[in-house]
């Protein structure tokens, strides 16, 4: 059966071609992007934990500020730009 046969479905209003066209407009986002967004709550917890430790330990704070990416990676998170900005913001509001 050809795609055109598949789409030869009698429909009113939303015909099959239109449904197909609309579905094609929303391909999946890259899986890595979705995973990073889904990890956000856990990443925020990690950022909070790093921030709390940095408040209590000036040397640790200096090390984290010198290499934000390494600090996040040490907690098991991808250092996405959003996560880095959040960590920087957390440390600079101390």
């Amino acid at each position: 059966m050809s795609p055109s046969t598949v789409l030869d479905v009698e429909m009113n209003g939303y015909d099959a071609e239109k449904l197909a066209m609309l579905l094609r407009l929303l391909p999946p986002a890259p899986p890595g992007w979705v995973e990073a967004a889904q990890q956000l709550p856990a990443a925020r917890e990690a950022i909070e934990s790093i921030g709390a430790r940095a408040e209590a330990d000036a040397a640790y704070r200096a090390r984290v500020l010198a290499d934000l990416e390494a600090a996040l990676e040490a907690e098991g998170f991808e250092p996405s730009p959003a996560a880095l900005a959040a960590l920087r913001g957390r440390l600079l509001t101390d």
């Binding site: 059966m1 050809s2 046969t5 598949v6 789409l7 030869d8 479905v9 429909m11 009113n12 209003g13 939303y14 099959a16 449904l19 197909a20 609309l22 579905l23 094609r24 407009l25 929303l26 391909p27 999946p28 986002a29 890259p30 992007w33 979705v34 990073a36 967004a37 889904q38 956000l40 709550p41 856990a42 925020r44 996405s80 730009p81 959003a82 959040a86």
Partner: protein, 178 residues
């Protein structure tokens, strides 16, 4: 028909710290945010990824401020558009020559289509399996009959007839909504 959670239910569960609800929220809107960045504003991959992550970071931070839980979709839509425009304007400041980009894109028309596509997508999700998967593979992932038949261990004829049947089912569902 499979019951799916409403946006308001997902928001409510997210506010209670439910990690699965957050995953569901990202799942539900990731395609839309991605499409607005890529199709609506034609951002490059790197800019699109930054905007994508920023959208969900702001949603996470500001979910408490959402006054009407049913307004999640328009809120995310508005946030995504604003961040895309900010990104294009930042590019202009850096001399990338984006002056006419926003004006030149048929943004409103594309975004209107994407909103409509989200409604269709919601209907697809509500269909449940196996229709959701087979229509998603064929239309959204652009997989061939052969790829789908190999993945689902079905004959190509069965794949084609299921696609037709699922489209019909989806149409009936959408007619029921109107």
């Amino acid at each position: 028909m499979q019951t799916t959670q409403s946006d308001a239910e997902i928001v409510s569960r997210c506010r209670m710290g439910d990690a699965e609800a957050w995953n569901a929220l990202v799942d539900r809107f990731s395609r839309y945010v991605y499409a607005v960045c890529i199709r609506g504003f034609r951002l490059g991959r790197e800019d699109a990824e930054d905007v994508f992550q920023e959208v969900f970071a702001r949603v996470y931070e500001r979910l408490e401020d959402l006054r009407n839980d049913d307004a999640l979709r328009p809120w995310i839509a508005q946030l995504t558009r604003r961040l895309c425009i900010d990104r294009l304007r930042a590019g202009r400041r850096e001399g990338v020559g984006q002056e006419d980009v926003i004006a030149g894109l048929a943004v409103d028309e594309t975004l209107s289509q994407l909103d409509e596509a989200m409604t269709v997508r919601a209907s697809l999700d509500a269909l449940g399996e196996p229709c959701r998967e087979i229509l998603d593979r064929f239309f959204c992932r652009d997989e061939s009959y052969k790829t789908i038949s190999d993945a689902l261990d079905l004959s190509q004829g069965t794949v084609a007839s299921r696609i037709a049947r699922c489209l019909r089912k989806m149409h009936e569902q959408m007619e029921g909504r109107s």
